[in-house]
């Protein structure tokens, strides 16, 4: 196997309106088995994917939002949220799920997966990646 690559999954769309968000998450979960250096970014309407309290009963669609809380178990521990995207939509971090992971090198301490970054900082995060999966 070649060297570990930095994978960035970019999530740009609201959930349910289209299937991109759900099928993106499916790639992330399958891709975890390949042991690459994985990050996820939520920008634009993509920030809605992580909102708390989603209820899809009236839509007759599966509520897949609980799946995000499993990402830590898949060793997906770097989740970047764009600050401006939240603000433009009147949201704060309080409106999003609290995603965590357990650090085995630190006595399984529970750590935050979500990092709130500005648009300018997100550019720097992106510049450091090898591969983009754009959804």
């Amino acid at each position: 196997m070649s060297k570990v690559k930095k994978f960035m999954y970019v999530n740009r769309r609201a959930p349910y309106g289209t299937i991109y968000a759900w099928e993106s998450l499916e790639v992330v979960l399958i891709g975890a088995a390949f042991e690459q250096d994985v990050s996820m970014a939520f920008i634009g309407d993509g920030v809605y994917q992580l909102t708390k309290g989603q209820d899809t009963t009236g839509l007759e669609m599966k509520n897949f939002s609980p799946t995000y809380s499993a990402l830590g178990d898949y060793e997906v521990t770097k989740i970047y949220i764009e600050k401006e995207s939240l603000e433009e939509r009147g949201l704060t971090l309080e409106d999003l799920q609290h995603l965590t992971w357990e650090d085995e090198d630190d006595d399984w301490a529970e750590k935050d997966s979500i990092q709130l970054v500005s648009r300018a900082e997100m550019v720097k995060v992106f510049a450091d990646q090898d591969v983009f999966f754009n959804f």
Partner: protein, 130 residues
């Protein structure tokens, strides 16, 4: 350079599939290697042989099949996306009890791991879609 191509949109509805085809063809003509073409989301509809476009229009599915045969391309349709949208080969028909198949010549159905492997093995993953 070694490329993996990801096609995220359906044929005719969206130009992404035309652009992906033209990019793939041009890359091959320039001597680049196409490690794999991976069809995801509605892109899986690029692989149904039952498509019947008007005669004065391009035949997107046939075009992929022909390019695939000419260059021995690995045209892979995502199984999870295909099951949702009814793209079926012999194996899928048998597994899921379907009475027909519709996969086009030169395509195969496989898992998302094929996309991730493509991204690892290639110099560039080029994604076509919105």
């Amino acid at each position: 350079m070694k490329f993996t191509i990801q096609v995220n949109e359906g044929p005719y509805q969206h130009q992404a599939t035309d652009s992906a085809y033209l990019f793939t063809k041009a890359a091959l003509e320039k001597g680049h290697e196409i490690f794999r073409v991976f069809f995801y989301h509605d892109g899986v509809n690029n692989g149904t042989r039952l498509t019947t476009p008007p005669q004065d229009d391009r035949n997107i599915v046939k075009r992929w099949s022909e390019l695939g045969a000419e260059h021995d391309l690995d045209l892979v349709i995502c199984v999870a996306a295909a099951q949702r949208r009814g793209i079926v080969d012999d194996g899928e028909a048998e597994r899921n009890g379907k009475d027909a198949t519709n996969i086009a010549e030169g395509f195969r159905i496989s898992g998302l791991g094929q996309l991730v492997e493509g991204a690892i093995q290639s110099d560039r993953l080029v994604v076509f879609g919105d």
